[in-house]
């Protein structure tokens, strides 16, 4: 594979792939927030 085919392939798939994965993650976050909505009992508490 020549250098430029390599470069453009990695660049286009890399930018597109990164955008696609993060867009999917944003949808996952929206879904999680719908399925598990915030309730006042969700106050931060930690156990050791």
């Amino acid at each position: 594979m020549d250098t430029w085919t390599f470069g453009w392939t990695v660049a286009l798939l890399g930018m597109g792939g990164t955008m696609l994965v993060l867009w999917c993650l944003s949808l996952v976050i929206l879904l999680l927030k719908k399925v598990f909505p915030y309730t006042p009992e969700d106050s931060p508490s930690r156990k050791g």
């Binding site: 470069g7 990695v10 930018m15 792939g17 994965v21 993650l25 999680l32 927030k33 156990k47």
Partner: protein, 380 residues
């Protein structure tokens, strides 16, 4: 007796006799890194051990990177195996609060745009004449994320590890100098004055706990070669959010992160032997690293402008510059720039969302790139 004394004296002067110009230059560079870390406060946790490692490895005849040298042991144990950067990721995940991102998930896209500098720099490096894997290692400086840069460069171009690491950590600390001129250059005063509304969408504890698990599974399935990076980052975050393993969380953030940072810094410094480091290629790596971070900023701001347009002017493009991994420095820069033009503008929480997106984005970008390279048969 006389001959024994002469031989003994020779042993004492061997070091001096073998001391060359390259040793002197590298000792100065090592001291320069110590100055940046101690005197200027630029990423001291890494630059101090790296600088000292560079000094140690350039003492003639000390042999610290010989097959039985102790720096060679650290390098082989933690860098070649990629264990050190991965352990650092557990600590980073544990220290990172993704809540601002979860409150406003669409902002995560800025964290993707903020990685585009990686891929544009890859093209630039190839144009200059770097071979394919060297170009990948140089481009990853654009992740603006030290452990990611170390992980990728140690995998593909270990001979560039020293230069790539120095560039990654130095430029991360120079974000407040690099970004503002670019942000001002690419935005209009009207855009910089945009005040963004408060997003108050609290996130449940269950969502915060499930988030790192889902991200690990989803992102790893989409980009399997990045599973170690994503997995360790999210493991650290799960330790934080679960709230039931405070001891492990504490260890990840403190003992493990501190010990590994020390060893990692020394091992990186140990790669800076004069004959390998003092080459024109090192200067090119440093220059391309700077360009990579500038391009990240350019692409982040451009994407911010696009989001501004699509939302009818509700998003201030300055927060696009925060879509890189330098956390929370890039978010503070966006806040400071916004306040210069509109005293009533509080961009910090929005910029923190973009910055947290940049942290995930840098890891995802590396994971995607590794998976694409694997798919193309460039790496095994």
């Amino acid at each position: 007796m006389e001959s024994a004394i002469i031989v003994g004296l020779q042993g004492l002067f061997d070091g001096v006799a073998n001391f060359g110009l390259s040793h002197a230059v590298m000792l100065l560079i090592g001291c320069g890194l110590l100055y940046l870390g101690i005197g200027k406060g630029y990423e001291p946790l890494l630059l101090v051990p790296i600088g000292f490692g560079a000094i140690l490895v350039n003492i003639p005849l000390a042999g610290l990177m010989e097959s039985d040298g102790f720096l060679r042991f650290l390098y082989n144990t933690g860098v070649i195996t990629e264990v050190f950067p991965l352990l650092i990721f557990v600590g980073i995940g544990s220290m990172t609060d993704f809540q601002p991102l979860m409150e406003n998930p669409k902002i995560i896209l800025l964290g993707a745009a903020g990685q585009f500098g990686i891929f544009l720099t890859l093209l630039l490096a190839l144009a200059i004449g770097f071979d394919k894997l060297d170009a990948v290692a140089v481009a990853i400086i654009g992740a603006c994320d030290g452990p990611t840069a170390i992980y990728v460069s140690s995998k593909f171009a270990p001979h560039l590890l020293g230069a790539v690491s120095i560039a990654a950590y130095s430029y991360m600390s120079l974000v407040p100098l690099i970004q503002p001129p670019i942000m001002r250059w690419l935005t209009t005063e009207k855009e910089r004055k945009i005040a963004m509304g408060v997003v108050k969408q609290p996130v449940s504890k269950t969502t915060k706990i499930i988030f790192p698990i889902i991200v690990t599974i989803a992102a790893s399935i989409l980009a399997p070669k990045g599973t170690p990076l994503i997995g360790m980052l999210m493991l650290g975050n799960l330790l934080r959010e679960s709230g039931v393993v405070e001891r492990l969380r504490h260890a990840a953030e403190n003992e493990i992160a501190n010990i590994v940072t020390l060893f990692l810094g020394l091992a990186i410094g140990a790669t800076m032997e004069g004959d390998k480091f003092l080459q024109a290629q090192t200067l090119l790596v440093l220059l391309l690293g700077l360009i990579a971070i500038a391009l990240d900023t350019v692409m982040g701001v451009f994407f911010g402008k696009l989001m501004c347009l699509l939302t009818g002017g509700k998003i201030n493009p300055l927060i696009g510059a925060a879509g890189i991994s330098a956390f929370p420095m890039a978010a503070r820069v966006a806040q400071a720039e916004g306040q210069k033009y509109n005293k009533k503008s509080y961009l910090l929480m929005h910029a923190m969302s973009a910055n947290a997106g940049g942290q995930i984005g840098s890891v995802i970008a590396a994971a995607v790139m590794l998976s694409v390279l694997k798919g193309m048969g460039i790496v095994g």
